[in-house]
Symmetry: C2
Subunit: 444 residues, 2 copies
């Protein structure tokens, strides 16, 4: 057998073997399964594109294939031949086999079943092996497609991608639930969000910025919807009139994100039995809007009692169900949150200053986005900080562009793991993180 291919070489991916019918091909990947029928021995090979069946008929080839361990990495050469009984209608008739890296025996779970039969903790403990299952790997192809759509939509609208520091010197936005560390003898913190930086960058003249990056919450609760490190899709945009502009932008961006998933990952959607909201091109306000007060009325009508401040997880679920049944929508904006439930930089509602121009977006009954218009008036920001017991001096660098010309602006942050999990119907947000971090999990 020849040496293995170079990057530019002649390896044929499993999914492209049918197109190579009649040619000698070399496939490379992991041994998914060996089936010995005596006269012939089958091996199913898995690579990043899918699986392909190879069959060994002559004695030497049969012996070579019979000896393969599941999950060994191998190269197989042979003729791509029509075979109606093969899963793809074409199989590889084995002429040569080379083991590139042999696998031990004793996998923690089987990988050739339609689903991996193991609990979430086992799957996360053996993450690199679990992800070899196409159904689990597919989650991260969907996740990547969402990020791609997010970027694509924003680059088209003239946004600049930025990277802001995750090591910060002050406990911004309130101060609770921060991871702290020693930074050359001084205290530093892991950023809870790029919020203040992205506002500064709007004020720095970029006007439109976005960031895809990690954020940190030292929250000690351990639920199916929380992670201590997660990926936030953040954007901020200047020269807006109202929170409504940000909501419309969210609709356009989400439409593109779903479109990317639809075009890139139809197989994953099918494997998970998932369907996507149809937002068209995102124009025409396809997502229903409800004020928080209206939402509370709805909930009272459904449950018979007035909900507490804001929305707890159960209230979000009920509203999600109501939106689907009554409005035919899996997405729902909840607007006009009271100022006391929102950060100091939230823009008050012009009609009622106790309320803010902010919104949450619920997707299938889970908050996936928070956003709104922000204050751009320096004096009011300083007042708000002081009223919340925060020291404006600690926010001097943040406040500086507000002193020297800050446009009206707003933005939003999407929790990528939550969005991915809702989209595929995953029960736990951890399933949408490659290596999740929670109170108990810091490995692998």
């Amino acid at each position: 057998m020849r040496e293995i291919e170079t990057l530019a070489g002649e390896r044929v991916l499993a999914a492209r073997v049918p197109a190579a019918e009649g040619r000698r091909v070399r496939v490379m990947g992991w041994v998914q399964r060996v089936r010995d029928l005596g006269a012939v021995v089958f091996v199913v090979l898995r690579d990043r594109s899918g699986t392909v069946q190879a069959v060994a008929a002559d004695e030497t080839a049969r012996a070579a294939v019979r000896a393969l361990h599941p999950e060994s990495v191998v190269a197989v050469e042979g003729l791509a031949a029509r075979e109606p009984r093969a899963p793809m209608g074409v199989e590889v008739r084995v002429e040569a086999v080379q083991v590139l890296n042999p696998a031990e025996t004793g996998l923690p779970f089987e990988l050739h079943q339609p689903e991996v039969r193991a609990g979430l903790d086992v799957l996360l403990d053996h993450r690199a092996l679990a992800l070899r299952h196409p159904r689990l790997a597919g989650i991260f192809r969907v996740r990547a497609a969402l990020v791609e759509g997010f970027r694509e939509a924003l680059l088209e609208e003239d946004f600049v991608e930025v990277h802001t520091p995750k090591l910060v010197g002050s406990a911004t936005e309130g101060g609770a639930e921060l991871f702290s560390l020693d930074y050359f003898g001084r205290p530093a913190y892991l950023a809870q969000s790029p919020q203040l930086y992205k506002e500064m960058l709007v004020g720095a003249g970029f006007e439109r910025v976005f960031e895809v990056g990690p954020v940190y919450r030292a929250e000690s609760h351990d639920t199916a919807r929380h992670l201590n490190e997660y990926t936030s899709l953040d954007l901020e945009v200047g020269f807006i009139e109202a929170a409504e502009d940000v909501m419309r932008l969210q609709e356009r961006v989400l439409a593109r994100m779903f479109a990317r998933v639809r075009s890139r990952c139809p197989d994953v959607l099918e494997a998970w039995g998932a369907s996507l909201p149809d937002l068209g091109d995102g124009s025409g306000r396809p997502v229903p809007r409800l004020t928080l007060a209206e939402a509370a009325e709805r909930l009272e009508a459904i449950t018979g009692h007035r909900p507490a401040d804001g929305l707890d997880p159960e209230a979000e679920r009920r509203l999600g169900r109501w939106a689907r049944e009554a409005l035919g929508s899996e997405l729902l904006f909840i607007t006009h949150w009271p100022a006391r439930l929102r950060p100091f930089y939230a823009m008050p509602d012009p009609a009622d200053p106790a309320l803010t121009q902010t919104f949450d977006l619920l997707y299938r009954g889970l908050e996936v986005t928070t956003g709104g218009q922000r204050l751009h008036d320096h004096r009011r920001l300083v007042e708000n900080l002081a009223a919340r017991g925060l020291d404006p001096a600690a926010f001097a660098a943040y406040l500086e562009p507000f002193r020297f010309g800050m446009p009206p602006h707003g933005g939003l942050a999407i929790g990528l793991e939550r969005l991915t999990a809702r989209l595929l119907g995953l029960g736990n947000v951890r399933e949408a993180s490659l290596f999740p971090r929670d109170r108990n999990r810091l490995f692998p």
Copy 2:
């Protein structure tokens, strides 16, 4: 005057005013400069696209423009009219002015000169204001274009974008120079690189992954080439034959990155007097290769003495100069580094096991990339770990995919700030970071 535009509204960007000649336009941005000639008053407005001149002739308009503070955020309406003396050949004849957010007086530096006259520390202390200068903002448009080209090239080659945790539970890759923190009562560290995770993901069947994200080095030295938090462009690819495959991939990817800068940011290149290496489409090995031993010989020929182990900054600079003068190349691969200077996962050179299949890429005499082929043999990895006094048990999750079939693989990491700085000829890597973190700087 009407209310300010919505996102979908009718604002005209400064750069597009000439195309709107003869129409009534509304421009919005920052007041860059007001010049009062008595009979007319000029105002130069700056937005994310550039600057535009507006002129007030009638009494009310003159009074309104005269009252504008530099850096106030304003909307100006009027006719876009031909005026040969205007910088763009078209100016806005002011009919209405609205101050959206007034600026205080007392900017820390002038923003209307060709360059901002202030030291780096002042520029970084007042980052959001300094970035209003198009020359400084341009650095980050180049940086974003580099990232865009990196992603675009890799998505086309079937890579998956991933996000790996920056909070890690063990001191990987050696353990020195790590930031540590308390994670719910346990020690955790900030990741120095996504190296082990991206290898795990190659072994998880993705085969080809990339990540754009922050990395952390608790190095206490304070130089023009080091940051304690920086952005790493990381990739890892399976089923390669040799480090050469990774170097060729680097050439293709770099070619695309430079092409993106060329097409997106010609104005920034001009402002900085920067030119780009011409790599064509990256094929045909456009970047010269030199082994470290050959590089040492060159240096000895230049300086008269044999250099110490590896390459110090001065040696890199000399090699960079030599490559430009002797080879006509601003890029230079240095290959075949000794194993003792490389991490435990470096693949030995088949011809000399004291050397490794690794490379650095120098760009104008500065290392911007490190990469190579990695070991995929489990036994040799365990031996290497033990030989370096590292506990293989601490690497169990990393090693697991190697026990169960890991393809031959390799990858690289590009320091985004270094690459950007070299490209534009910036003297200090901090200039290519929006909010740099160094030993002394944790704000803003």
